[in-house]
């Protein structure tokens, strides 16, 4: 018998059958016992019926990725059993429904097979509650049962389970609280009674939480939406698309913050409406995914030439085209970087964990307003749909920077000191740093124009070659200014020792698997350093050069076919990576395959590793 510090558990089932709630329940039961959680969710582009699954990892340390092999697999139908039974560690456990599958047919003698007679237990509950007639309807309780059964095997205290089940149903279906808590109890007891003596070695017990530490349990879209609220985003447009719409729907369901959310007729409308809103001074944003982003290019270019602060969250999913709409890829980097005909400045950020999802949202609006340009935040499906325990967001230090936006008073003063010949405003006044003072419609004395055409300082169309040249220079200058002003830790982050055996360069959520792998590799004696590029544009060339030049082996790791970031690095620094770790099956990189890949690169100098784990 061994008390685990870390466990991986997986549950699967048809979409719409409650897999997600089961996983959340399992996760929260452990989270409330002090564990750190990472939950990874996989599902089809389908509403009901296709196979989906959810892996929960819990640990006494932070966890940030999934693994290939789990300790326990909870199933209540055959497909999940079939697909996942091979991915349970020897000595682990599989929960299954004995009325559907014979123990001997499972073919895993090296794991503990826990037969949970779901319907029998449910009948028992039904009887207790006088609902014998509704047994079929109560079949959904399999979910709660499988969670309770799993935790029973781990001898995890029942009260934490009961509390979680209770709070889950209290908000969603208050009438069902009692029955489900009782259901959990029955399943729990059933397993305790029948499998107390099983050879299953693992146990889990609540662990202490550092004093004063508060944690929340969130998805990426929730973290991002919360960030937007704090950032002061009060106008959000969207057109439904997986996995971005969750963010907008979350904002919409919280009207108490005053954020207008408009469901548009398409993404063209989404970007144009957000930009139209942004010119009035509201902090405005839109959220989408690849196919929708395709339709936003022209509107973003208009914001670019008109120096309108607008924030675009692109939740990357696996392309090209419709691709794997519910799966993950980091395949939009080069598109985001180069979307639009002609050069215009943009800032591109790539948050890689829940904290960054939250805080980058705040920075994004600050950058957008300070530098008066579109900011693209490259989120992704991996974190959008994953759940994680995160330290309580402490946003007390976050500051709002509205750049050169003029208050009514400032505008009046500016006009006075600059003279105001014709009563119009030089919205695009040439300034050294590229940023001009900015009034908004409704303000006296601020009348200006915007046009998609090249313009003069008032914003009127011009085709004068000299003005054109200066306006291009002015606009692009802002990126130089941004490069100077944005602090190092917002550009890149590094983890691990300087004298590492290799330097892994990555961006976005792939960071999670690498950090997790680094801990394992350290135990093997392999030292890995991680360079996370947080600011993709303007590219932090000198900072990256410095890190790369000190590296023994330079490894690019990203979730796409061609190595987008590796290309961008080489374009900016001339430096090619020694090795690449790529994955493009639509499933996020797992810790264990990352460990293997890095080991092979360090030990066998592999040049390119294509990862493939995950059903």
């Amino acid at each position: 018998m061994e008390y685990l510090k870390e466990i991986a558990w997986l549950i699967g089932g048809p979409q719409g059958s409650g897999v997600d709630s089961s996983a959340s329940t399992f996760a929260k039961a452990l989270a409330s016992g002090g564990y750190h959680i990472f939950g990874g969710r996989e599902y089809h582009s389908n509403i009901k019926g296709e196979h989906s699954y959810y892996q929960i990892r819990a640990s006494d340390k932070e966890v940030r990725s999934s693994v290939n092999q789990v300790h326990m697999l909870a199933t209540f139908e055959e497909e999940t059993l079939h697909i996942h039974k091979g991915y349970v560690i020897p000595g682990g456990a599989i929960l299954f429904d004995p009325t559907l599958v014979k123990e001997t047919d499972i073919g895993r003698k090296d794991v503990v097979l826990v037969a949970v007679p779901y319907m029998e237990l449910i009948k028992q509950i039904a009887t207790e509650f006088g609902k014998e007639k509704d047994v079929q309807k109560l079949a959904v309780m399999k979910n709660v049962l499988s969670v309770a059964a799993s935790l029973a095997l781990l001898e995890y205290p029942f009260d934490l389970i009961a509390k979680t089940v209770e709070s889950f149903f209290k908000t969603k279906k208050p009438k069902l609280v009692q029955m489900n808590v009782r259901g959990a109890e029955i399943a729990y007891n059933y397993v305790r009674e029948n499998y107390a003596k099983s050879p299953f070695p693992y146990r889990l017990k609540p662990i202490p939480v550092p004093a004063g530490e508060k944690r929340t349990f969130l998805t990426g879209t929730q973290a991002a939406a919360l960030g937007k609220i704090i950032a002061g985003c009060r106008f959000q447009t969207y057109y439904p698309i997986t996995p971005a719409s969750d963010e907008s729907e979350f904002l919409e369901s919280h009207p108490e913050f005053g954020c207008v959310v408009v469901q548009c007729e398409d993404e063209i409308s989404s970007i144009c409406m957000a930009v139209g809103a942004a010119v009035t001074g509201v902090r405005a944003s839109t959220a989408t995914s690849g196919p929708g982003f395709c339709l936003m290019v022209e509107g973003m270019g208009w914001a670019g030439i008109n120096e309108v602060p607008v924030v675009i969250f692109d939740y990357q999913r696996a392309g090209p085209s419709t691709g794997l709409p519910t799966r993950f890829e980091q395949g939009d980097l080069k598109f985001a970087l180069n979307a639009g005909h002609g050069d215009f400045p943009r800032i591109i950020m790539a948050p890689g964990d829940m904290d960054e999802y939250f805080f980058d949202a705040i920075d994004a609006f600050n950058y957008a307003e300070r530098y008066q340009l579109p900011v693209i935040v490259l989120n992704d499906k991996n974190l959008a749909n994953s759940t994680k325990t995160v330290r309580w967001f402490d946003y007390s230090g976050a500051k709002v920077d509205r750049g050169f936006l003029l208050s009514d008073e400032a505008l009046a003063k500016y006009i006075k000191s600059n003279g105001n010949g014709n009563g119009n405003f030089k919205r695009f006044h040439f300034e050294e740093n590229g940023m001009s003072p900015r009034p908004v419609p409704g303000q006296v004395g601020g009348v200006f124009w915007n046009t998609g055409d090249e313009h003069d300082e008032y914003g009127h169309i011009t085709e004068d070659p000299d003005l054109r040249l200066r306006m291009m220079d002015k606009r692009m200058k802002k990126l130089e200014t941004a490069s100077k002003e944005i602090p190092l830790d917002k550009k890149i982050k590094t983890y691990g020792p300087k004298d590492a055996d290799c330097l892994v360069v990555t961006w976005g959520s792939t960071k999670g698997a690498i950090l997790d792998a680094m801990e394992d590799l350290e135990k093997e004696g392999i030292k890995v350093r991680l360079l996370q590029i947080c600011l993709i544009n303007p590219f932090p060339t000198p900072e990256v050069m410095k890190e790369l030049s000190q590296a023994k082996i330079k490894v690019g790791a990203e979730m796409n076919y061609s190595g987008h970031l590796c290309g961008v690095i080489r374009e900016n620094t001339g430096i090619a990576m020694d090795s690449m770790i790529l994955k493009y099956t639509g499933r996020p990189m797992k810790k264990d395959e990352m460990v293997d890949a890095l080991r092979n690169i360090v030990k066998k100098a592999e040049k390119k590793v294509v990862l493939t784990h995950g059903a």
């Binding site: 929260k28 989270a31 409330s32 530490e213 508060k214 944690r215 929340t216 349990f217 969130l218 919360l226 609220i229 704090i230 002061g232 009060r234 106008f235 447009t237 009207p255 005053g258 207008v260 408009v262 548009c264 007729e265 398409d266 063209i268 409308s269 144009c272 409406m273 957000a274 930009v275 139209g276 809103a277 942004a278 010119v279 009035t280 001074g281 509201v282 902090r283 022209e298 509107g299 325990t389 309580w392 967001f393 946003y395 007390s396 500051k399 709002v400 920077d401 208050s407 119009n424 908004v440 419609p441 409704g442 303000q443 006296v444 009348v447 124009w449 915007n450 998609g452 009127h460 169309i461």
Partner: protein, 326 residues
């Protein structure tokens, strides 16, 4: 203190063709805005791309010359973000009914309180006279090498079927009448569409001023003679477009049916004036119903940080508590 028309003009060089119908529309807008009793800074003009799209540059208010076909979403975004602004959007027929048709159609579903003026000249002016969506099949204006192969669409009828609450047609050479329409449109609380018959003398030699006004050249003398004007005013024909009681579905149906018939008129008789008007809650009111703060302070002006320290004043603690696990 109302504005004078001349204060609404800009000194930005106008490059429309001599004799373009656009001038009449521009004048009418100037006059309507002057008649509104608002100040320059309270008004925001939006436009798409085309000859028509340049309009805001000649109006001395905040002006946004946006993208081809996208004037509406930009304008709607601005209005929703700051409902205190008077927002007028202009555009071409290609712009609005062609490439912008998805916005045209779906804007009817929202009834945002803006006014949309479409310069309807039957051609893509700025790209040299290709057929626009309102040019009829078989017609061959001088800009086309071959007769138009597409049917026209009927924007007023489409608007009627798409939830528009104010639907009108103007004529660019009846500036006073058009000015009144625009004023009515702006004062209408909801989405007002004003399609304006706009001769493009450079490319469209079919729907000309002469054609609309029934001016013909006497074959003998070559003199211009007034024949039967095609354009006539609905209000002068005793037509009443206004739904008195929006809750009375019979009245609504009746007014819609008569408007539908009016939208079908073309050729010898072309109605101008208001075809249909109904009072419905505008989008702002609908948002305010969900979000009471919206009625009090516009998103553009909603405070969210301390001006002195830059610190956020938004408190998400209650929300975070929902997510708290330990």
């Amino acid at each position: 203190m109302a504005l004078e028309v001349k204060e609404l003009k800009t000194d930005f060089h106008n490059d429309w063709c001599v004799g373009c119908g656009d001038f009449g529309i521009l004048n009418a807008i100037h006059m309507a805005l002057a008649g509104l009793g608002k100040q320059r800074h309270e008004i925001a003009m939006f436009s798409g791309i085309g000859c028509s799209g340049k309009t805001p540059h000649w109006i001395n208010t905040y002006g946004f010359h946006t993208l081809h076909g996208r004037g509406l979403p930009f304008a709607i975004g601005a209005k929703l973000a700051n409902p205190e602004l008077t927002v007028v959007c202009v555009g071409g027929d290609g712009d609005g009914y062609g490439i912008g048709a998805a916005h045209f159609l779906n804007s009817g579903r929202r009834n945002v309180d803006i006014t949309y003026i479409v310069f309807d000249n039957g051609v893509y002016g700025l790209t040299k006279g290709q057929a626009s969506p309102t040019l009829h099949r078989g017609e061959k204006p001088k800009s086309l090498p071959l007769p138009n192969i597409n049917d026209n669409n009927n924007p007023l009828a489409v608007a009627l079927c798409s939830g528009y609450t104010f639907i009108a047609r103007g004529y660019s050479y009846d500036v006073k009448h058009l000015k009144d329409l625009i004023l009515r449109g702006i004062n209408h609380k909801g989405f007002a569409l004003i399609d304006v018959l706009q001769p493009c003398p450079t490319y469209n030699n079919l729907q000309t001023k002469e054609w609309f006004e029934g001016i013909v050249e006497d074959e003998e003398t070559g003199a211009r003679v007034k024949g039967n004007p095609r354009v006539y005013k609905l209000e002068e024909s005793g037509y009443d477009p206004v739904v008195k009681n929006p809750a009375n579905l019979e009245e609504v149906e009746h007014k819609m049916s008569q408007a539908f018939l009016k939208t079908q008129e073309w050729g010898d008789r072309i109605p101008i004036g208001v075809l249909y008007q109904i009072d419905q809650p505008d989008y702002g009111a609908r948002i305010a119903q969900r979000m009471p703060s919206y009625a009090k302070v516009s998103p553009a002006k909603m405070p969210f940080y301390d001006l002195a320290t830059g610190k956020t004043t938004t408190d998400i603690t209650p929300l975070l508590k929902d997510f708290q696990v330990v």
